[in-house]
C-alpha cells in the first residue's frame, strides 16, 4: 500500500517513483525500507525518558493492530465480532492521542512537544465529528456490531442515505490520520517532524507502520460503514469486494496529498469545530428522520 501511494503520487507529479526493489516497478520497496530501518541504530536522546520513549511506538502499534481485529473484511473474515465494535473502535481511536502525547513528552524536545500538542488538539477536536458521523450509521442499522451494519445495507448503501455523514467521516478520518492537508503535527518546515522528531531506526518504523495500519483500518471502516462492506454482485467473492472498495477509498484519501498544501493549525481547528461538528450533528438529525421513513 505504501508502494501504491508512492506510485500514485509519482504519477501525479510526473515522476517515476520507486523502481529498483522487487521485480515489478519496485514493488518491494516498503519491505526494503522496513528492513533498512530494522538494521539502524535505535537512538534514545539523553534527556528523554527512556521507558516511555520506547513504550510509545509499541503502544501505538498495539492500538492500530487491535483496530484491525474489530473490522470485518467479509461475513466470515472477522477476528472479533463484538456487539459493540463501533464503540470499541472509537475508544481505540481516542486513545491514540495519548500515545502521541507520551511520545512527545518523553522525547523531551521542544519540537516534539509542539508537534505533540498540535496532534493532541487536532485529534481530540476531530474525534468528535468522527464518532458523531458513525452514530448516524448506528441509528440507521440499529446495531453497534459491524457485521450487522453491513447486513442492513442489503438494500441501500449508507452513503446514499447519509452523504453528509460519509463526507464528515472522510475528512475527520484524514485529520485523525494526520494526512495532507491535515498533517500539521508533522509539518517538517515548522516543527521538523513533530512528535516523531527524536525517533530513529525501528521505533520510527513502528510508528510509520502503525500509521499505515491505521490508515488502512480507517479505509476499511469507511467501506464497511458507508459502502456496504463485502456486499456486491455474486461472481466476485465478498472479500474481493471489500478490498476493491477499500482500494478506492485509499486512492481517494491519497489524492489530496498531491493536490493540496497543508493547513495551519488554527485554520484546521476552526474548520473542525465550525463545519464538521455542526454537519455531523445535522447528519444525526437526518438519520433520525430517515429511520421512520425506511420502516
Amino acid at each position: 500500500m505504501v508502494w501504491y501511494e508512492r506510485k500514485l503520487l509519482a504519477k501525479m507529479q510526473v515522476r517515476v517513483g520507486p523502481l529498483y526493489a522487487g521485480r515489478f516497478e519496485g514493488i518491494l520497496q516498503p519491505i526494503a525500507d522496513f528492513v533498512k530501518l530494522l538494521f539502524k541504530e535505535i537512538i534514545v536522546p539523553r534527556p528523554a525518558d527512556r521507558f516511555f520513549f520506547l513504550l510509545a511506538p509499541t503502544f501505538m502499534m498495539a492500538l492500530s493492530v487491535s483496530l484491525l481485529a474489530l473490522i470485518p473484511l467479509g461475513p466470515t473474515y472477522v477476528i472479533a465480532d463484538s456487539n459493540v465494535a463501533i464503540l470499541m473502535i472509537i475508544a481505540l481511536l481516542s486513545l491514540s492521542p495519548l500515545a502521541i502525547m507520551i511520545a512527545a513528552w518523553a522525547s523531551n524536545n521542544k519540537y516534539s512537544l509542539i508537534g505533540g500538542l498540535r496532534a493532541l488538539h487536532q485529534m481530540t477536536s476531530y474525534a468528535i465529528p468522527l464518532s458523531l458521523s458513525t452514530l448516524g450509521v448506528v441509528v440507521l442499522s440499529g446495531s453497534f456490531s459491524l457485521v450487522s451494519v453491513v447486513e442492513s445495507q442489503r438494500n441501500y448503501w449508507f452513503i446514499l442515505l447519509q452523504p453528509l455523514g460519509a463526507v464528515v467521516f472522510f475528512l475527520a478520518g484524514l485529520a485523525e490520520l494526520e494526512r495532507v492537508p491535515f498533517d500539521v503535527p508533522e509539518a517538517e518546515t515548522e516543527v521538523v517532524m513533530g512528535w516523531e522528531t527524536e525517533y530513529s531506526g525501528i521505533n520510527y518504523g513502528l510508528i510509520m507502520t502503525a500509521a499505515y495500519i491505521k490508515f488502512y483500518a480507517l479505509a476499511v471502516l469507511f467501506t464497511v460503514l458507508f459502502l456496504g462492506g463485502w456486499l456486491g454482485p455474486e461472481p466476485v467473492p465478498p472479500l474481493a469486494w471489500t478490498i476493491l472498495k477499500t482500494l478506492l477509498v485509499v486512492t481517494l484519501m491519497m489524492i489530496p496529498r498531491g493536490a493540496y498544501p497543508r493547513l495551519r493549525i488554527d485554520q484546521m481547528l476552526r474548520f473542525g469545530w465550525t463545519w464538521l461538528l455542526p454537519l455531523s450533528l445535522l447528519n444525526l438529525v437526518i438519520s433520525l428522520v430517515e429511520v421512520p421513513l425506511l420502516r
Partner: protein, 148 residues
C-alpha cells in the same frame, strides 16, 4: 521529466572550445599543440589552482620545456577560463561529466590521461536488464592509466 539516470543519460551538446558554445565538461589536451606556456596555470591559480604544469617525457617539437598541464578535478570548477586563455587551442573541453571516483587521488588527471577522449572516472554503473548496479572499477582505471 525524470531521467532514470544510469540507464538513460542526459544528451549533451559537444564540448566547449573557446569561441563556440558547448558543454563545459572534462578537459581534453592536445599534446601536439601545447607549447607549455603555462598561461592556463596562471589563469587557474587565482580561480581554484587546479592546474599544475608537470614534466612529461617524450618528444614534442612544439613543447621545448616538456611541461604540460595536469588538472586536479577535486578543485576544478569547470569555469573554462583556461580554455579561453589557451592561445594555441590545445585545451578544449568535452561533454563528459561522470568523473566520480572512489579515491580522490584518481581525480588528478595527468597530461597523458587528459589527451584521451574516452569516458573516464572509476565509479561505473553496470546496467543489466533494466536495473543498474554500480561497480568499483578502480583496478581497470589504474591499469588504463598505466598503459596510456
Amino acid at each position: 521529466m525524470t531521467l532514470r539516470y544510469p540507464e538513460s543519460k542526459l544528451e549533451l551538446p559537444s564540448g566547449y572550445r573557446y569561441p563556440l558554445a558547448g558543454y563545459k565538461g572534462r578537459h581534453i589536451l592536445d599534446m601536439q599543440k601545447c607549447t607549455g606556456c603555462s598561461i592556463c596555470e596562471l589563469t587557474c591559480r587565482n580561480i581554484t589552482g587546479a592546474i599544475k604544469m608537470v614534466p612529461v617525457e617524450g618528444l614534442f617539437l612544439r613543447n621545448k620545456k616538456l611541461i604540460f598541464p595536469q588538472i586536479d578535478y577535486g578543485f576544478c570548477v569547470f569555469c573554462g577560463f583556461c580554455v579561453d586563455a589557451c592561445v594555441f587551442c590545445a585545451l578544449t573541453m568535452s561533454s563528459q561529466y561522470e568523473l566520480s571516483t572512489y579515491d580522490k587521488r584518481l581525480l588528478i588527471y595527468e597530461p597523458r590521461l587528459l589527451t584521451s577522449t574516452a569516458p573516464s572516472g572509476s565509479a561505473r554503473f553496470v546496467v543489466t536488464k533494466g536495473r543498474a548496479y554500480h561497480r568499483e572499477t578502480l583496478g581497470t582505471h589504474a591499469r588504463s592509466r598505466k598503459t596510456e
